[in-house]
């Protein structure tokens, strides 16, 4: 649709015309500001914990474990220098052989969710699939944070967290 609009604008005499290939879906999936009547519906990007621990793929588990425990977390995301998610460490991996590298023991390719998923939709999915946490990333895989079910429930209880009428950004 937008390429046709761009061409139409050019035929109407506009000299410098572009079309944004990713469109509104890509914009919202990146957690960028948005306007409109549904802009205030709570979305998981607003509630993802940015302080969730991360580590590089070559870090030793012993070092990662010390950092994660000191921060009072029980999970850690293995990310690139650009914060693209490679994998995730849970207690089982964190409590394992401290000499191993994170990339050797991580759970690769965890399911991730985009920040524009509504809190309502996310909670439904988490309950249906018995999830307690949900990694939130941009569409290119960059970690935004970790959504925790108790915090989403708290957000859902206090406001009118209805589903988007078009369930944008869902599922991924």
């Amino acid at each position: 649709m937008s390429p046709r609009a761009a061409w139409r604008l050019e035929t109407l005499g506009f000299e410098e015309v572009y079309w944004y290939a990713g469109g509104k879906a890509d914009w919202m999936a990146s957690g960028l500001p948005i306007e409109g009547s549904e802009a205030r519906i709570p979305r998981i990007g607003d509630h993802a914990r940015r302080d969730v621990p991360t580590c590089g793929p070559d870090e030793r588990i012993a070092d990662v474990r010390a950092r994660v425990r000191a921060a009072k977390w029980n999970t850690c995301f293995v990310v690139t220098a650009e914060r693209v998610v490679l994998g995730r460490l849970h207690n089982r991996e964190l409590d394992g052989d401290g000499a191993q590298r994170a990339s050797d023991v991580m759970r690769s390719g965890p399911s991730t969710f985009r920040p524009d998923v509504t809190v309502h939709d996310m909670l439904e999915h988490m309950r249906e699939h018995k999830l307690t946490t949900a990694p939130v990333t941009t569409s290119d895989g960059t970690l935004i944070g970790l959504a925790l079910i108790e915090e989403l429930e708290a957000a859902h209880g206090g406001v009118s967290a209805r589903t988007s009428s078009r369930r944008r950004g869902w599922p991924r």
Partner: protein, 67 residues
């Protein structure tokens, strides 16, 4: 010739003064749109509606995704 751009380029062009146009139906625009975007649905895009745009500035059109 119109060019396809990505999100980073949209942000750069907007910062430089580009106009952003959502070409989806008006009800979708009312619900959610990019900051500062103008609504001109594709079906209504003609010389008259395009008068809302300044001719001397770049224009970025978008819809929902890759359609």
């Amino acid at each position: 010739m119109p060019k396809s751009i990505d999100r980073a380029e949209v942000q750069r062009l907007v910062a430089a003064g580009a106009q952003v146009v959502e070409v989806l139906p008006a009800d979708e625009y009312e619900e959610l749109h990019l900051p500062g975007a103008i609504s001109i649905p594709l079906k209504e895009l003609d010389a008259r509606t395009a008068e809302r745009l300044e001719r001397g500035r770049p224009v970025v059109a978008y819809c929902h995704d890759f359609q």
